[in-house]
């Protein structure tokens, strides 16, 4: 009898567990990063979750065009003033009215130097905010700022409720956020999950998904397994090596967002010899076989690039990818007085798609033209301390997905003296500053094109390729992915 009971117990333990599979109206999203806080004014992480709780004045549609959000219209009144007309009747989840005061409060609390907002740089051009009437607000900028409407379409410019924030304080607000967005906050358990529920009174209509659970699953294999077993419906950051598992499964799809990721480039510390010589930089640029790297190492999950500007950015110029030409590279080195090549250190890290393998392939290709590479691979937390001062050649990913404007892609890494820039080309500096002072879009586009032409010739950095963004999803869920890396649950349907 005893033995029988033991067998029964053992058998019951072996029975399959019905792993909680989300119902049709619910969705579970698996993310690599843990959420730490959800105050959009003080984020130190991506705004993926926050984006579903809050709204911005200006929004982006699927084609990444700026469209009305909490503002119904906006216009530049003069060179330094933008006026926004606000949507009438929008309420925060706690019933507070969304009005001009809320907009002023939102921006004032971020640009206040005492607040130490880590993302103040995204709206650093804002001088002040003026309430004209409850539904009209004027934003004054320090100089001409053509990008102001774009700045109002992302964090830290998600509109927050003044009364609630003042009442509970910033700390509580970061753990129990209240916004105007399609989803209301329900629960936040650090390192485990964030749960949101649909805001039935949302101004764009009631969302079709009732409940969203954002789970943090740091390990790539565990994240993919959770998708394949149906524990989650959607995952971010699918590792390239195991992406085929998602592609081949009958229940899941791999969502490959072309131009959705960072542009990977080699930074060159131009104050170091021989990188100060333009011929040497051009030679290195020609010595890399980008197509072979993308095809063989990245399995086609990236696109070779001839410019740092993303293909979806305003100001993108479709420059040809630098042709792989080791013979010409060798000749250029000889012209530069280095017929036998030289030795140099190249640093890379573990952060991007197969970055170590790519760095190794590049080192080999440099070796083919006589440039001997001393390769160093560092952990990201150490790497960020050294880049971009050490190098002299270093691999980095840069992106403009948050603004979708060429400015973000080039200014910080081309302009002399910027924290991440190791280039110093006076002619380029002049064009970069010029581009920031023009409001007229057509004129700006022309200057941005000039910048990219000059960069292709002067090689302040060596652009390699732009990564795709990789998501995995259950077949029952509609999700196409966006170049700005957002996951708007409002646009997702589930059968």
């Amino acid at each position: 009898m005893k033995r029988l009971a033991a067998i029964a117990l053992a058998a019951s333990m072996l029975l399959p567990i019905s792993t909680a599979i989300a119902s049709a109206a619910d969705i579970v999203v698996g993310r690599g990063a843990s959420t730490t806080a959800m105050d959009p004014g003080f984020l130190k992480e991506s705004a993926t979750i926050v984006d579903n709780i809050f709204d911005t004045l200006v929004m982006r549609d699927k084609e990444m065009k700026l469209v009305p959000g909490l503002a119904t219209s906006w216009k530049a009144i003069d060179d330094t003033t933008w006026e926004f007309k606000l949507r009438d009747g929008v309420k925060f989840h706690n019933g507070e009215a969304m009005d001009a005061e809320a907009v002023k409060f939102t921006i004032d609390r971020v640009i206040d130097p005492a607040a130490k907002s880590p993302t103040v740089s995204y709206i650093r051009t804002v001088e002040s905010v003026e309430v004209v009437d409850p539904l009209t607000v004027r934003i004054k900028t320090k100089g001409a700022d053509p990008l102001l409407p774009t700045r109002m379409s992302r964090y830290p410019a998600y509109i927050v409720p003044p009364k609630y924030v003042k009442e509970v304080g910033n700390d509580v607000f970061a753990r129990k956020p209240v916004g105007t967005g399609p989803y209301k906050f329900v629960e936040f358990v650090p390192d485990q999950h964030v749960i949101l529920e649909a805001n039935k009174d949302y101004w764009r209509g009631a969302p079709s998904i009732d409940k969203v659970t954002w789970r943090a699953i740091p390990d790539g294999t565990a994240r993919i397994t959770a998708l394949l077993t149906g524990e989650v419906d959607l995952i971010e950051n699918v590792p390239v090596d195991i992406a085929p598992m998602v592609k081949d499964s009958p229940d899941t799809d791999l969502v490959q967002v072309k131009n959705g990721g960072l542009t990977i480039y080699l930074g060159l510390v131009m104050s170091e010899k021989p990188l100060d010589n333009v011929k040497v930089r051009q030679a290195l640029n020609m010595a890399i076989d980008r197509q072979s790297i993308v095809t063989n190492i990245l399995q086609g999950m990236a696109s070779p690039r001839g410019t740092q500007v993303g293909a979806a950015d305003f100001g993108y110029k479709d420059l040809p990818v630098t042709a792989y030409d080791p013979a010409k590279a060798k000749a250029l080195l000889a012209e530069a007085g280095l017929p036998n090549g030289f030795s140099i250190k190249m640093q890379s890290t573990h952060r991007y798609m197969k970055d170590s393998e790519v760095a190794q392939a590049i080192a080999q290709q440099f070796g083919d033209i006589g440039v001997k590479i001393d390769q160093e691979v560092l952990d990201w937390s150490v790497y960020t301390q050294q880049v971009p001062r050490k190098g002299p050649i270093f691999m980095l990913g840069w992106g403009s997905t948050q603004t979708l404007d060429a400015d973000a892609a080039v200014y910080a890494i081309f302009k002399t003296g910027e924290p991440y820039s190791t280039a110093s080309i006076p002619e380029l500096d002049k064009l970069l500053d010029e581009s920031r002072s023009i409001v007229d879009p057509a004129k700006r586009e022309a200057v941005l094109a000039q910048i990219q032409d000059l960069a292709a010739e002067q090689v302040p950095v060596i652009p390699l390729y732009q990564e795709d963004a990789l998501y995995g999803k259950a077949k029952s869920v509609t999700f196409e992915g966006r170049p700005d890396a957002r996951i708007p649950i409002f646009d997702i349907k589930k059968q």
Partner: protein
């Protein structure tokens, strides 16, 4: 009186250790740079990074920063997490139950099974079963945790669909992480029990007991095992202490919300105060557990005097 001086002596030793650890962890973190660059978005200008650095006190001389850190650490204040904007100690305490649960489960099953296998192997020395147990325990120590963890996920979650692949919540969630974490300890304890028991079984007093006609079962349990326990307890104390400091790899792979994961993410984000809190906590647990292990010796073997 002797006991009291033993305890105060150990407490003082512990304090010295803690002081040393605090200095090492503080200066080691600083050697690799300051966190301002990592905390600010890439578009930040040089002035903005500098202003942030100034505001956070990263510009003061390092010994001033260390003094500030030490002064507040003495009062139990381990600083604010840069990433969470919350006290580092709170974050740690929040995650302690998850880590303790995982550590206990892993240690309990691996100890029980380890004792059983180790005893069988020792009693049946050089038999086929001894050989099998030795091979298994060798494997357990040789297999890296991350590999075992992934194999478990692929088999139990992906192929069989028996267990949830990651996270915390039910008993089922606990199975794979505790197997992955306990496998190493199972092997270590099996080998240790086996070796220690074989040695004890060769002692004169065991031969005497046998000569007196005491049953071999009684000899093993009452006479041999108790004496064989001493090295095992020492090692288990160490294991438990290191497990409470967080299981870095296991917690990351299984998305287990414990101290190990907190530590890894803090290091990746250069969240100094949290790294310091975790290391200091782990050191404190080590000191305390070692002290308890010393006391356990006395209980197990009255020949050891304080």
């Amino acid at each position: 009186m002797k006991t009291l001086s033993f305890i105060t002596g150990r407490a003082l030793q512990g304090l010295v250790v803690m002081f040393g650890v605090s200095a090492i962890v503080f200066f080691a973190l600083f050697l690799t740079g300051d966190p301002a660059a990592l905390m600010m978005p890439p578009e930040a200008t040089r002035e903005e990074i500098e202003a942030f650095r100034q505001a956070m006190g990263f510009n003061d001389p390092i010994w001033v920063q260390y003094g500030r850190f030490l002064a507040s650490a003495v009062t139990g204040e381990l600083g604010m997490s840069l990433r969470f904007q919350r006290p580092a100690l709170d974050l740690l305490i929040e995650r302690l139950p998850a880590t303790a649960l995982l550590a206990m489960t892993a240690l309990v099953w691996s100890s029980l099974l380890g004792f059983l296998l180790g005893t069988i192997a020792a009693v049946r020395k050089n038999s086929a079963i001894d050989f099998a147990i030795r091979v298994i325990s060798l494997l357990g120590q040789a297999i890296p945790v991350f590999w075992l963890a992934l194999l478990l996920i692929i088999f139990f979650s992906l192929k069989m669909r028996w267990l949830p692949s990651s996270g915390i919540g039910s008993v089922w969630h606990l199975i794979m992480p505790s197997i992955a974490l306990g496998a190493y300890y199972l092997s270590a304890i099996t080998r240790l029990v086996r070796a220690s028991l074989i040695e004890v079984l060769g002692e004169n007093y065991i031969r005497t007991a046998r000569a007196k006609g005491i049953s071999s079962w009684r000899i093993i349990v009452h006479h041999a095992l108790r004496n064989a326990l001493i090295p095992v307890i020492t090692v288990q104390g160490m294991y438990f202490a290191s497990l409470l400091g967080g299981a870095l790899v296991t917690e990351i792979i299984f998305a287990w919300p414990g101290i190990g994961r907190l530590a890894v993410e803090a290091i990746q984000n250069r969240d100094f105060p949290v790294v310091q809190a975790v290391v200091l906590f782990a050191a404190a647990v080590f000191v305390i557990v070692n002290f308890l292990v010393d006391l356990a010796y006395v209980w197990l073997n009255p020949r050891i005097r304080l």
